[in-house]
Symmetry: C2
Subunit: 163 residues, 2 copies
């Protein structure tokens, strides 16, 4: 005769059945989003002390490399919608990392510049971003990284195809 | 003697110098984000008539495959933060595509279900999502697609590493 024993683990700790994701894991868009979230989370952890998100890092980098560029062109170059770009820029300006200056003869446009504080943040971020990048590059290996960058580039091009 | 001619194109149409993106295009995170945006934009264009974003499609798919799953587990399975999941779910419920039901004996939890309207939307989306997927798969080729999915999976695993 079998004796039923009470499991030693409490009932609340019992593993729940896995969630069925259906066709999602086979979709390119879903796989991209999951990988992108994982990479963004690591970025966030590493630069938590500087409180800079990947999108803010991109904007600061563009301002450093293109002083005086107009807001519309920064947004366009980074593929950010204008409506999403305004709050990012407002946040950087409120923290004294970037500044808008008037463009003579064009009341609607503003030229963007990195402040000294913005340059200092970017300099402090550089080794953290390099470590972050090296971590994921290490997981892929040199060939894998090169393959991935080529494949991602092809996806990006497809997105800009008006067809 | 050279005679300067007025260019035929108006000054406003002159090409502006390209924006210098610095090291961004070489960063895995940046390349992922650009590719993900391009794929999400195509998804958006194709399913515009149904007004469903990729994240909403993922939630509807999980509810279809796991009727009665609790909200916290849906969010966890999709890697969505709980605070970001609540408005997604509110939106789907307001449109009558999903519904929360009470869980007996647990006042804080709710079990999620797809409504008949939600099932119908998912059925109408299926061929559109398949076309969307085929477009990008075609750009990559069978080998490229398989390589990409493997590489993205490795990035996702790296993100869940607590190191």
């Amino acid at each position: 005769m079998m004796i039923l024993t009470v499991p030693s683990a409490p009932a609340a700790a019992e593993p729940e059945p896995p969630v069925d994701l259906g066709a999602l894991p086979g979709l390119i868009g879903y796989a991209l989003r999951r990988a992108q979230l994982a990479v963004a989370q690591d970025f966030h952890r590493r630069v938590a002390a500087e409180d800079i998100r990947p999108g803010q890092h991109s904007v600061l980098t563009v301002l450093q490399n293109n002083p005086g560029l107009r807001a519309a062109r920064v947004a366009q170059a980074l593929g950010i919608k204008r409506t999403n770009f305004v709050p990012v820029l407002d946040g950087l300006e409120a923290r004294g990392l970037a500044e808008r200056r008037r463009v003579p003869g064009d009341r609607r446009a503003s030229a963007l510049f990195l402040t000294e504080a913005g340059k200092a943040v970017l300099a402090r971020l550089a080794p953290l971003v390099a470590e972050h990048e090296a971590r994921f590059a290490g997981r892929l290996g040199p060939d894998g990284r090169s393959q991935l960058m080529g494949l991602l580039h092809r996806l990006g091009e497809a997105g800009f195809d008006p067809a």
